[in-house]
């Protein structure tokens, strides 16, 4: 296990989560240092997406602590958490399909009240994602998967978040877009936004992440700097079931 950074931006400490009788997380502890990209790896049903939902307040843990910038998030509603500075790129994008691309991007700025600055940020998004410029008045549901991912990322950035949580940002994208998305995550991070991403594709995620955690049936079985984990055979073992399932 790595030493948690002394003043992390986000920290989960001994989180236990249940769906009815079934326990999803066992004493889950994760930290995201300021300015870092942290990825959470794991196979199907390992509890990755639930971790996202815990951070966003969509699922309440039974015990444990979640802090953001030193303050507890437990008991806050999702909108309150978003106002603290966490934006999300949900699994499968979850765009507002019948709203236009412009409306979708502006929905990201829902928590802001500075209209002029929002308009400027919209222009900035169009320089960051030039392709979206021609699509602004199109229905978001009519875009391709890769274009939708761009909209989802622009939407997340519009709230000027301090951290973005992403649920499988490369899922279902063509290889071309996968590279593009990874580049974007890196450049988002370079302007100071921390990133917490959940991924199945370990080799891709480890390429851009600073730290990584490997989750297996609700427990962290491996963690450390991404560079070190890249060549660690135990990462692959964790995916293939490892000791738990056997």
């Amino acid at each position: 296990m790595t030493n948690p950074s002394p003043d992390p931006l986000l920290a989960l400490f001994n989180v236990n989560t249940f769906y009815g009788q079934a326990q999803v997380h066992f004493d889950l502890s994760i930290t995201v240092a300021r300015g870092h990209i942290v990825c959470l790896l794991g196979g199907n049903a390992s509890g990755k997406s639930t971790t996202m939902k815990i951070i966003l307040g969509l699922v309440k843990p039974r015990s444990g602590e979640v802090t953001f910038d030193g303050a507890s998030l437990i008991g806050l509603s999702t909108p309150q958490i978003v106002r603290r500075g966490i934006a999300s790129v949900p699994e499968a994008r979850r765009l507002f399909a019948d709203m236009s691309v412009r409306e979708n991007i502006l929905m990201g700025a829902f928590v802001r009240n500075d209209r002029e600055a929002v308009a400027l940020d919209l222009d900035r998004m169009l320089t960051l994602f030039p392709k979206l410029g021609q699509r602004l008045s199109q229905r978001a549901g009519s875009l391709s998967g890769g274009e939708q991912q761009m909209v989802a990322m622009a939407r997340a950035l519009m709230s000027r978040p301090r951290m973005i949580v992403m649920d499988e940002p490369t899922m279902g994208l063509s290889p071309l877009y996968v590279d593009r998305v990874l580049d974007l995550i890196r450049s988002i991070n370079q302007v100071g936004v921390s990133v917490f991403m959940v991924e199945q594709n370990a080799s891709l995620a480890l390429e851009i992440a600073h730290e990584a955690y490997v989750l297996q049936t609700g427990r962290i079985v491996l963690s450390g700097p991404a560079r070190a984990l890249k060549d660690d055979p135990r990462v692959r073992d964790a995916y293939l079931g490892g000791s738990e399932a056997a």
Partner: protein
Amino acid sequence: MSSWLDYTINGLIVGNVYALVAVGLALIFGVSRLINFAQGSIYLVGAYIGWVAVVRLHTPLPLTIIVVAAATAVVGLIIERFGLRPLQNSVRIAPLLATIGISFVLDQLVMLTFSPNPRALPSQLPDVRFQLGGGTIGPLDLLIAGVGLTSALLLFVFLRYTKLGWAVRATAQDRDAAMQMGVDVNRVNQAVFGIAAALGGVSGMLVGMYYNQIDTAMSLQATLKGVVAEVVGGAGNVPGAVIGSLLLGLVESYGVAVFGTSYRNLFAFLLLVVVLVLRPNGLFASARQAPPEPLTGTFIAPSRPVRIPRWALLVAAAAFAVLPFFPVSSYVLQTLINAWLLGMLALSLTLVAGTIGQVSLGHAALLAIGAYTSALLSLTLAVPVGLAVIGGGLMSAALGTLLISPSFRLRGHYVSIATLAIGEIVSLVILNWESVTRGPIGISGIPPLSLFGHDLISPLSVYWFSFAVMLVLALVQGRLLGSHLGRSFRAIRDDDIAARAYGLSLNRYKSLAFIFGGFAAGVSGGIAAHLYSYINHETFNTQQSILALTVVILGGLGNVVGAIVGSVALVGLPELFRIAAEYRILIYGIVLLLLVRFRPQGLLGTI
């Protein structure tokens, strides 16, 4: 009114009124996937607030409209805050039942405040009519059209250009994603309920002025028409609701032109059933807009039923069987006879709604079919009453199952809407099929109950007869639930896709449930007909369907003993406390609300 143009204008005006109700329903459904059965009650409240404003306070028309809109908006906000928000995390049937309970409470409060007698609501507009082509149009027509168009425009501006409007649209399309953008879904719900209530209230006031009459029966009719228009247009689709409403108005108006006034509602419900069966997502819903109803299992609260030892049941049954030997008044026996009759209906509904998960809101129609069949068999064909009652049960089983079968592929809320519509259709057919049912006059002089040639006239014999019939039905149903068949029923309720994957034919099992349930309800209706000696198309109405549903929820869905306990409680307790008849329905509504909130699994638990 004579020309087709007149009928078209009338259809469009009435459609405009429906649109005000249906748009509110569509907004609410869009945001919270809930069919708000209290919408008609708000419409009723709007009409009466309008009456108070016009007749008592003498407000000018523009002020009347503002007063009505504001007051009903407040009612909507209260309903959302105290009736529905506490149920956010409960099973999906809970808010549906809550709106039904709220609707009963509101209707009864209006009735208790203003008395059930109709009142005149003058329109304050000059009584002139302008020639328009071959037809005429009056100032009130123009006012309704104007209010409709203005509301549509305001709503469009709200949804398209305001932040809250964006939040409403985003929530309707993806609730979780909207929350992740920082949208406070509670505020969205509030906004939507406020708007829907204001539109509904103004609509009620306008209708009151249009017919210069308001009464408490308006409520259910408005809910039904609004739901029809909304579902026809595609649930949750706001422009669809407007088009559905205009279409409904025209269909009704032309139907009246060709067949006569008493057919108006029949056309509305036939349109609904046809749309539900052929295009359950409505005429204008794209495949994506209406997400599929979740599996029925999430619709009903799972729970551990209360175990009652067999000896306790035997003791209770024996106690009720020997009760007449003790010095009890015939009033007590009469009350219990009513409980046994309601018990049979509740057995039927608890099987259909609880065990196999098809929440029927039109169960009184099965009573009506059984009652009319038994009454007509004994009167016109001189069939012995005992056999006629069985005939009523069989007819109810056959006809009820046949009528509901096209709706077998529907789920969740849609089953409730379809059964509600079918219930209304049965009552309207009874009203209009005069050669057989004697129409609005009803059937009088129905012979009393008899068994093997002996008339059962004394309360004692009727008590034993109805108790015995109910007991036999309950025993058979109890055996059924413990068998393989009962397990298949519950499998379909809990997860119909999984059940189908295991090779269960849904249609066959749903048919079986409705056949058994239809028989029990039909027998109950048959016995009732011979007890009352007079029935008409209103004897078995939606209030009874809802009462039966309350009984079933009180006892625990699917719970045979619970159905009987619930019947005795809901029939007996008001008698015990000598509660005046006009307060009873209010109490049923409150009981339903409290149950949904605090004990959704009922007294004895879901089986």
